[in-house]
Symmetry: C2
Subunit: 262 residues, 2 copies
Amino acid sequence: MNYFKKTPEEMRLLIRNKDFKKPTSGIAPGYAQGNLVILPKEFAYDFLRFAYRNPKPCPLLYVSEPGDKNLDPVAKESNIYTDIGNYNIYLDGKLEENISSAESYYKDDLVSFIIGCSFTFESELLKEKIEIPHIVKKKNVAMYDTNIKLKGSGVFNGNMVVSMRPIKSKDITKAVMITSRFSSVHGSPVHIGNPEEIGITDISNPDYGEFAGIEKDEVPVFWACGVTPQNAIKKSKIPFAITHGPGHMFITDIKNSDLVNY
Amino acid sequence: MNYFKKTPEEMRLLIRNKDFKKPTSGIAPGYAQGNLVILPKEFAYDFLRFAYRNPKPCPLLYVSEPGDKNLDPVAKESNIYTDIGNYNIYLDGKLEENISSAESYYKDDLVSFIIGCSFTFESELLKEKIEIPHIVKKKNVAMYDTNIKLKGSGVFNGNMVVSMRPIKSKDITKAVMITSRFSSVHGSPVHIGNPEEIGITDISNPDYGEFAGIEKDEVPVFWACGVTPQNAIKKSKIPFAITHGPGHMFITDIKNSDLVNY
């Protein structure tokens, strides 16, 4: 089956019915995919304020009402508890379980947050012929813990996690300009070159994902990363949270082209 | 006294001591001024989500902790209950009182929201030699109710209020580009020309402020306006809210130049 020709709605149904179980990178091209955070209403205000205070790592695409399963305004006929192939369940900040459906954890006080994902800006970079080494090499992007302090909100705080893409020196200006137009999917880079200045001591050894090498004509370019809120949730030790599992994002009906800043 | 040479901190003290009672337009140039909304914590989540869902009329510059009087991170040694010259007190959505200090209404469950104000982008337009008629004619900007529906959040909903500035046809592109770089102070225009399309039937008769005329070589350009959240508060009929009084903004320590999108 050609999963690249399916609509977001069709893909969500395939995932729900366990007919598609792979990571979602490259699936339903042209549509935004999102990181998921589900929290009890009790912590929703602090998390919303955390996202507002740290818009680069936590750019919000949608916030549900408490108890909503269906995220109709951004994903028709969806069920956020079944339409991702892989969920992490956190109890007291610790990973309790990694499962293919979160239905059994549903409660009517839970609020879903959909956070923008770098897949959108990567597809915009590719459109403009900017090479992204980890995509060429079919690896996961390299991600790093940093010393960049976030603005805290209630129980949520910590440091920023960044993703790194080696970009050719001649293309960096273009990459900055393109990604700056997409602030709801992490926006422009937070740092360019000199990894040690943001606390990265060994660039070849990422904290998450894979290192795909850096060529002589390339400079490491760092963007705020959607893993950041997951780390803040772990650090908060709040009693309960659900997130998407690594690489398995929520496929929305939002067109990438509708996310351009205006 | 030359109030244009005072620092934001000095101006806040003069206002607190009732030594300066005038509107704040043009005061402490180079520093951002903000719209104020104070609400009980009970409504803070809905309002924060309302602001996130409607970033053009409600661009947030700061959210306090409940009970904070001092907004130190954006205004050193400040007291948000005394450092504005004029406050509106709303009970059940109705204007109860217009007073020069809100101290007597302080409660430890109140949350302060500072919302970006068009003074910042006006000063950027003036720097680039774009003429703003109401400033030349020393009038208040013209503001209008529209048919542009906002995204609701809990008790908060309604239509967008816009401000209108007639801009010379040759300067409109420049005005769009400049204001688009300042999304935290309403950003780019929401509408250009054709007032009737957004429900404005008589451009010469604004719902708030004053009409300063439109010349033949000018087009009416509409920006989202900070009066919008005040209207949403009135419509919500929530038991209690404080806002700044018209023209009397909160003078922050944030430099306009630090508000450029990046």
